[in-house]
Every structure is written in structure tokens, then in C-alpha cells.
Point group: none
Chain length 204, copies 4
Amino acid sequence: MNGVNDVNGESGRRGRPRRPETDTRILQATVELLGESGYGALSIEAVAARAGVTRPTVYRRWPDKAHLVVDALAQTVPVAPAPDSGDLRADLHDLARGLVDRLIRTGLARIILAVHADSFGHQDLAVPLRNLYLRPRLETITDVIARAVDRGDLPPHTSPATARDLLAGPIFYRWLVSGDLTDTDVEELADTTWRALTGQEQGP
Amino acid sequence: MNGVNDVNGESGRRGRPRRPETDTRILQATVELLGESGYGALSIEAVAARAGVTRPTVYRRWPDKAHLVVDALAQTVPVAPAPDSGDLRADLHDLARGLVDRLIRTGLARIILAVHADSFGHQDLAVPLRNLYLRPRLETITDVIARAVDRGDLPPHTSPATARDLLAGPIFYRWLVSGDLTDTDVEELADTTWRALTGQEQGP
Amino acid sequence: MNGVNDVNGESGRRGRPRRPETDTRILQATVELLGESGYGALSIEAVAARAGVTRPTVYRRWPDKAHLVVDALAQTVPVAPAPDSGDLRADLHDLARGLVDRLIRTGLARIILAVHADSFGHQDLAVPLRNLYLRPRLETITDVIARAVDRGDLPPHTSPATARDLLAGPIFYRWLVSGDLTDTDVEELADTTWRALTGQEQGP
Amino acid sequence: MNGVNDVNGESGRRGRPRRPETDTRILQATVELLGESGYGALSIEAVAARAGVTRPTVYRRWPDKAHLVVDALAQTVPVAPAPDSGDLRADLHDLARGLVDRLIRTGLARIILAVHADSFGHQDLAVPLRNLYLRPRLETITDVIARAVDRGDLPPHTSPATARDLLAGPIFYRWLVSGDLTDTDVEELADTTWRALTGQEQGP
DNA sequence: ATCTAAGCGAGACGGTACGTCCTGTCTTGAG
DNA sequence: CTCAAGACAGGACGTACCGTCTCGCTTAGAT
């Protein structure tokens, strides 16, 4: 639960304790620099300088750039609360807008993509990324679906995971291949997913 | 149509002409190294060495790693032919399997993701990536949809682009968040999309 | 007499003739750039660019930087006329001032030093440098001495070459080790040499 | 006294200390390569390779080739002891032979000339060159002169600096313009200088 | 109160790669 | 044959980071 960083892992209590402020400053610097220049251009050197810390101090806590970034994302990006208006269609639109506003428009999606691309095949990175970062955020969506099933707004055999992929997948894919995403696009895609899930008369 | 690399662009034919073989060797080396170690770890240095060429020779043709990789992808990854069995469901399954077999299982998807993450905000890179690489490959999917609409297998107001996002989006999204993709997953997601498009009784 | 450069040496009259203007422009550019940034920083590339010519055109005429510079110096730096006032002391002062004004103060001495340092051991360079550049300039001095011997102002066994070294050597040496040379220094050194040659009462 | 290189200069003793061996190895390699191919052809790259060190390690200590070479000369070329036979004429011959044997015949003079040519106008280079390298070596000569004045072998108003220039200047000048120097030349020039200083019957 | 282990800033170090510049040679097409 | 243009192999430039290491100093809990 406490990230990739050991934070005085089980072993240690002897010796001078780490200043907790140092952790914060490094993560803060990481987030700032990610926002300014992206994952590829991020260097440990720059993070350390921005945090007013030396490189070894960073390496004492995180083994490399990727692990550092995962922690920075996990501890910095807030998990949005799951919408619960009682109306599935409204909730889906809410979720869709949330994805766009909090991930795509802020540039976060780009960073996460880069970390993902870097992490494939590195289990020590991909696993924490999924557990720390993704899981709680994905659950926001599956919770909404599960509640709709409970309410009877969706058929009982509806798979929350598949429904989630049906909502978020097309949005990210559209963004990826077109490079842009208008509000109308998002509305339309959310509606299409809602119709697909509920079996309303066809679109798109 | 001739890539990011100028290939003796408009300017003329004066001076010693470029050896066309050199282009090929560099792109070939790029593809090989991408496959071996991914986009992040790719260095121009290594590409040049593998191609039996000096670094300046590479820089004469492509301004940086990203542009080089875009060209390498565009000229190397084959565009799969659009399936045309006459049966939409079969075609969709075919397309879905194709995405997985040719992009995800080969590691290409990971590379494309990395290039994308690098390219956002760099129009000189993102635009060629979309025009040279993505567009022809996306058309394979929209062609299948358009033909199904013509045949009357899909409602006439069906948007090929949206249908495309509905098919490919969930697959990539699932792969992204779970890190893996079984054949069953793919079948199920393709079926869900088919049902959503045709309005068959609901899943998933 | 025609320098290191072949200037359509004996062999050629067939084919398109060389534009003589090109020779001039290249030498001119060389002298300018030498003055601006010295011998070490001079590049054939820059010479060609300044002369509005391509690199191979330069290489067709001179095999390398050193040969080019020797020719540029020989054809550009004027040979000062030998002073002949009838008074040896005045002539020596004149020569000394000339060395300082035309070589040291203009930066030429520095360039010649660099070429010399580069040329040692390269006979194909050192020989033309001495024959084309140095010899005519050294003769200005030995001529003055020889005339003074003829006039009886100096003992008949005076060696013009040694006398020359006794005049010019200390001046250059002083400049070399102190980095600067005041008018008084020069006067004093010239006087010392005059006294040494004529056997006047001792200094310095 | 400690060269152009900081050698953990005033700033302090924090951080991992430099291996002193590294300094030595780099200077050693510099001297060797200077001897093999001269100043112009010397590259930091080659020095680093020969010293078994990487380029950045060299640049950490010296800003460029010229500074490196100045230190290499200063720390490597021994200062010859001043001759003190009690006989001025013998001492002058001794000094002259020393100049030729230790500077000209070893190729050192050529290197020093090249550094000088490079250093003019660069005070940060010319000043250390004079202070570290030249000054102690020039003093060998002026000491001899000063002692001769004390002994009464030279007139009391004799300027040691001028006398020094009168001895060394002609020798270097002769070497420079003729490219060679026989033992007889040197003897003759030293004698000429001795006569000039003491006012013996004239030569040359 | 001392001991001892760790944190930490500082900076050296061997490396790899960067992107640029220049060298000297070559290949083409035009004059 | 000249010449402009420009490709090419090669080599060096000076810089930026990497990840590791060795210092001296500081900060604490354990003794």
C-alpha cells in the first residue's frame, strides 16, 4: 500500500531516519517536471535538482525513473469519487467526462501511456502500476456498473469489467488515433456504450 | 507518401545521390532493435552501428529517434488485408484476432504506444504518425464496417469510425489495464461489439 | 614563385579551365579568417563557405590547411622594403619597428608561429614556408647588414645571418616570453644589438 | 603552484575525492602523445583512451586541450639546474647547449610554440603558461647573469632580462627560420652573445 | 554518554549517448 | 576537365545523464 518506495521497509529503524519531507519534495518535483516536459524527457538529475536533493538521495528511495514516476502518479493523482445519481446514463456520461477532464486534458494520459510502454515486460514495474495506480481508478467505473446491475438497470449477467472496457476503451482509442477529442465525441461514445449495454434501439 | 525522411525531397537532384540501400539498412536496423529492446532503449548510436553506417548519416535523414521510428514502422509493418467473408461477425472476429496477433503479440503495440506518448504535442511527429502509419491500418476496419452497411447487415446510420472505436478500443484497453489478453477475452470482446452494433440480445 | 598550389601545373590545359578568380577568393577568405580566429580554429569548411566555393574546389588546389595558409601568407603579406638611410643605427631601429608593427601587432606572428609548429617535420610544408614566405623577408634584414659592411660601418667579417638573428631573435623572444612588447623594449633591444655589432661601449 | 587544474582547489574537501593517480595518468598520456604526434594532432579523446579514462573525466579537470598541455608540460619537463662554473663564457655555452638539447632536440620547443600560438589573447591560458612553465626556466638563465654581475664579470648595469633575450633569442630564431641547428651554430651564437655582453673584440 | 548505523550533500568515476562539426573522398550532373 | 552540390565514412568535439562509489558530517536509537 505504501508504493514502490520502501519508506524504511521492514528492516530498518537504526541510524538516522529519513526525512519524510524529502520523499514529498522528490515526488512533487517529479510531478511538476512530468507536466512540463513529459516522461521521456524526465531525468533523475533534474528531479533531484528541483527537489533540492542530490541524485544518490533519489536512488536510495527508487531504483529508477519508472518506479519513481509510478509512485509519483499514485500518490498525486486523486481518485475521483464514483458518481451515483441513480441514473446509469448520467453516471456513464459523468465517468466519460471525468476520464477526459482528469486524464486526457491534463496530459496525464500521455504520461501513463509512456510509463505503460516502458513497463511492459518489467513485472516489478507493471504490477505496482496496476495495483497502485490503475486498480483504484478502474474500480470507480466497475462500481457504477455493479450498482446499476443491483438496481436492475442492467441485465444480471453483465460483466463489470467488460462494461468498463466498453466505456473507457473507445474513448481512449479515439483520442489515441485522432489526437483530439471534442465534447460531442465523448457524449456520442458514452451514449453508444450505454445503448450497447442496455440494448436500446441501435446506434451509432 | 514518402515518409518523414526527405528522400531527395523537392529540392532536386544535384550532388551525389543518396544510396537507397542506406535508407533500407537503417530502417531495417531500427525495426530489429525496436523488437529487441523497445523504443525507450533505442539509440541512434546503436541503429547506426547495426546498419553499418555512421551517426551523421542517420542524422542527415531523420532529425531524431521519433521520426526515424515512425518511418521504420510505416515502411515495415505490413497493412493486413481487410477480411471479406460476407459474414460480419466472422469479419469482426478476424479483425480482432488480427489486432492481437500482429500488434500486441509481436510487441508492436508497445512501441506504437511509446511513439504516441512521445509525439503528443509534436505536430511534426504526430501528423506523419497518423497519416503514414495509422490511417491505412484503421481503414482496414472501417472498410469492413462500410461493406456490412452496404450489405444491410448494419443499420444505414452506423458510423464506421465509431464502430471501429467500439471494436478496437476495448481490446487495447483491456490489454493495457490487465497486461494480458487471452483468446477468450478477445472473442468475448469482439462478440460484445458485434451485439452492440447489430442490436442482438444483450450481453455481455 | 607560384606557391604550393599547382595553378594548372605543367600538365594541364585540357578541359574546362580553372577560374583564376577562384584562387584569389579562396586565399582572400583564408587571410580574413586567419585574422579573425587564428590558425588553429581555421577550417577548410569555413574558408570554402566564405569564398563562396565548395570544399572539393579548395582541395583540388591545396592538399590541406597548412599548405593553403602558407600560400595565403606568401601572396598576401607584403615584403617591406629594406631601409637604406645610410645610418646603420637608424636602419636597425627601422627594421625592429617594422617587425613589431607588421608582424607582432597585426597578429601575423602568431599565425606564422602556429604554421611553423605544424610544419616541423613536414618537409613538403616547411620548405615552401621558408622559401616562399621567410626567405624574401629575411633578406630585407641581411641586405641592410651587407650594405653596412660595404660602407665600412661594420667589421668585414660580420656574418649577415648571425647579425640578423641577433636583431630579430631577442625581439621575438621577448615578445614570446612576456606576451607584450613596449616601444621602449624594442628601442632598447635594437640598440643593444647595434652596440653588440659595432662594439660601442657596453650595454645593456 | 598547482597548475591550471584545480586539484581540489580552495573550494574544499567535500565529495568523493579525486584519485590522484588519475591526474598523473592523464598528464603522462598527454606527454606521450605530444611526443608522438605534436600539439595539433593531439585529441582529448586519445589522451583519455591512453590514460584508461573516459572523456568526461578529463574535462572535469581541464577545460580544454591547451590547459591540459600547459599542465602536462609544467609538471613533466624538469627545470635544469643553473650552471655555476665561475666562468661566464662556459656557463653561457652550457645554457645554450641545454636549450638545444632539452627543448629543440626533444621536440619540446615545437610543442611550446604551438601552445603559445594558441594561447595568445587567451589570458587564462597565457598567464599560467608563463607562470608555471616559462618563469622557472627563464630564471635559470637570469640567475647565471646575475651571478656574473655580482662577480664583476659583467658591467653592473647589465639587465639580466635583456641578456637572457640576447642569448636565447638568436638561438630560437635561427632554429625557427632555418629548421635546423648545428652544434657549431650554437657555439657561435653563444660566443657572439658573450662578446656582446662583455664587450670583447667584435665578431661575429 | 557513547557507540554505531543510517541519512544526506557533495562530487568523482566509468560509462553511454547525444547532436554537431569537420575531414578528406566520392559521385553525380551541368558547363 | 572544372565546378557546385551533396553523400559518405570517419573521428572528435563538448555536454548531459546514468548508476555507483567514496567521502565528511549529521542525526538518532541502542548500549
